[in-house]
């Protein structure tokens, strides 16, 4: 009950922190897909290179987020961005690479080889094949990767409050500092709700962007 009262009393602050949180994640995912989707596409043409790139992306995932913030602090301090949103976004972009690259790669690799054969045989160049066949068919898997990255980033962004990035993590950080239970819980619950909300939204997007012909099962009869 105390939590609800806390949230109602601080509705405006909750709202602003939520927006702040969303903006960090949205910018990160946007930048991450600009890097990750083309990378995933490029490595889908080369299996051995693909394994190396995915392994590198995997290594980023194994670094604890708080350690990554710590590592970036001295590096980014040189250019004056040791704290704040910039290191948070950089970290989230790095963490998002694995799900985005991996899913793009898998989505394109899993396109049946006869479709690629047909596209080549009919005289599509690589770009046309990508645009007309491969990306549309891989789209549901790519969106699923973005969804993974987004949900994960919402969680990690909460920790980024410790390096001054803002967002809902501020409640948790300050709540712990002040031993203020309602504040901690409010931050945690809002982060969880945001993650659930984004997960549902992205699932819907995944459904919308699935090419129409893929959802159909065979209806036979000659």
């Amino acid at each position: 009950m105390h939590i609800i009262i806390f949230i109602m009393k601080n509705a405006e602050r909750c709202w602003l922190l939520t927006l702040d949180h969303i903006s960090i994640v949205a910018i990160s995912i946007f930048l991450a897909s600009l890097i990750g989707i083309p990378t995933g596409i490029i490595i889908s043409y080369n299996k051995t290179k693909a394994q190396k790139i995915i392994n590198i992306a995997n290594i980023f995932m194994t670094i604890p987020s708080i350690a990554l913030f710590g590592l970036m602090l001295p590096l980014l301090s040189i250019v004056g961005y040791g704290l704040g949103k910039v290191p948070a976004i950089i970290a989230l972009v790095l963490y998002s690479q694995l799900p985005i690259i991996r899913n793009t790669y898998i989505g394109i690799r899993n396109i049946p080889s006869e479709l690629v054969e047909a596209a080549n045989g009919l005289g599509m160049d690589r770009w046309t094949r990508l645009k007309e066949i491969e990306i549309p068919l891989a789209m549901p898997v790519i969106i699923a990767g973005l969804k993974n990255a987004a949900v994960m980033s919402i969680g990690i962004a909460a920790i980024a409050a410790y390096i001054g990035a803002g967002g809902l993590g501020v409640f948790i950080q300050q709540g712990i500092a002040r031993a203020y239970d309602e504040m901690i819980l409010a931050g945690a619950i809002l982060v969880a709700l945001l993650a659930i909300f984004v997960d549902c939204g992205m699932s819907l997007l995944e459904k919308i962007l699935t090419p129409k012909g893929l959802g159909i099962t065979a209806n036979l009869g000659t």
């Binding site: 049946p112 006869e114 479709l115 054969e117 047909a118 596209a119 080549n120 045989g121 009919l122 005289g123 599509m124 160049d125 046309t128 007309e132 066949i133 549309p136 068919l137 090419p211 129409k212 012909g213 893929l214 159909i216 099962t217 065979a218 209806n219 036979l220 009869g221 000659t222």
Partner: protein, 378 residues
């Protein structure tokens, strides 16, 4: 016109290199359907894929209408030829319309022209355009998908078609039907076609000429008739089978062999005495009885002497009627099955066109084998 000159394809390097196609030289004339036949791994598909540069030549030369394919941009080369494969490879995210329109769109046709073409092709393949154009491949049966695959390869009206077992993935009944349709279309369009199959029946049925491959080499390149009569070595005679005389029967149609309408046919409505008068003293058996100009059965003269008042009282119906477009293989089978050695031949309207007997077929096959033997000897 496709000319292959010393075409060789080697996969890999050094000790692990595999020669898939070795020193192939052959021509495919304009309007000719040439079947590349052989067991899997014989190089037939490799040769096809070299033709539109899906694979690159190791050595030798391929010319299309006198122009070396290496002088083309491979993308333009492929767009200029139709291409269909066994797995069909229809794009599941595109409608039937979108699938057929792929190459015209790549070539930058205007949309109205594409639409006309899609409608024309769907109608030609017996698929109602308004019903099928907006469907997705997953909504079609295997046979319908194969037809769309063929339509897609014909879309930009290429002179040359490359077909890699295009009817391989469907059941035998539908396959026969699609082959017949395809032959009908080809007789109108007269495309230059390289057609890969491992099915000897398909090769005999479709091919103007057959190129048989073994271990990457061209073993024999001949018409189906010659191939069946004179397989050039043991491998080919094994491949075409010991029943090759029977297979030869599949190459000829009844109208090529039948005799014209016989002198003595009797009307069903004649009285038996009137009919008997027509024969005089001669002892005919199995005389064809017609109604109007349509054969309805036959009578045995002995029955006619003893029973009934009208011819139709003693007429025995033919269990089947032979169409003038049937193959000799079908007719021979009917003769054996029904123990009838003499059949009337009808046209599509059921009217009597001629007769064909067991002897006619036998004589025809013997004369063909003789002709080929003399032709081969000279």
């Amino acid at each position: 016109m496709i000319r292959y000159r010393g075409v060789t394809k080697i996969f890999g390097h050094g000790p692990e290199a595999i020669t898939a196609v070795k020193d192939i030289t052959l021509n495919i004339k304009p309007g000719e359907l040439v079947v590349f036949l052989g067991p899997s791994g014989c190089g037939k598909t490799t040769l096809l894929r070299l033709t539109n540069r899906l694979l690159s030549l190791t050595s030798g030369e391929i010319q299309i209408d006198g122009q070396d394919i290496m002088s083309w941009n491979p993308i333009n080369l492929r767009q200029s030829m139709g291409y269909s494969i066994q797995e069909i490879g229809l794009f599941p995210n595109k409608t039937i319309y979108g699938n057929i329109a792929v190459v015209p769109r790549l070539l930058g046709w205007e949309e109205w022209k594409i639409k006309d073409r899609v409608y024309e092709l769907l109608s030609m393949l017996g698929l109602e355009p308004d019903i099928f154009k907006d469907r997705y491949p997953a909504e079609l049966s295997g046979g319908q998908q194969q037809r769309i695959g063929v339509a897609r390869s014909l879309a930009a009206d290429p002179d040359i078609l490359l077909m890699d077992e295009p009817f391989g993935a469907i059941d035998p009944v539908n396959r026969e039907r699609i082959q017949d349709e395809f032959l009908g279309i080809q007789s109108k369009l007269g495309k230059t076609i390289a057609f890969v199959t491992h099915d000897i029946h398909e090769a005999i049925k479709l091919g103007d000429r057959i190129a048989i491959f073994q271990d990457g080499r061209l073993i024999q390149y001949d018409t189906p008739e010659v191939m069946l009569a004179f397989p050039s070595n043991g491998f080919i005679s094994d491949f075409v089978g010991t029943d090759r005389a029977i297979k030869t029967l599949g190459l000829y149609r009844v109208h090529e062999v039948m005799r014209k309408k016989p002198d003595i046919v009797i009307q069903a409505s004649m009285s038996r005495l009137e009919a008997l008068n027509r024969f005089g003293a001669e002892d005919f058996r199995d005389v064809i009885v017609i109604h109007g100009n349509k054969p309805i059965g036959y009578v045995d003269i002995r029955d006619l002497r003893n029973k009934g008042t009208l011819v139709k009282d003693t007429v025995i119906e033919y269990p089947v009627l032979i169409n003038f477009n049937d193959t000799l293989r079908d007719v021979m089978s009917q003769m054996l099955m029904h123990d009838i050695s003499n059949f009337p031949v009808i046209d599509d309207n059921g009217e009597l066109k001629g007769v064909i007997s067991h002897n006619d077929i036998r004589r025809h096959i013997i004369s063909i084998f003789n002709d080929i033997r003399h032709g081969a000897g000279s």
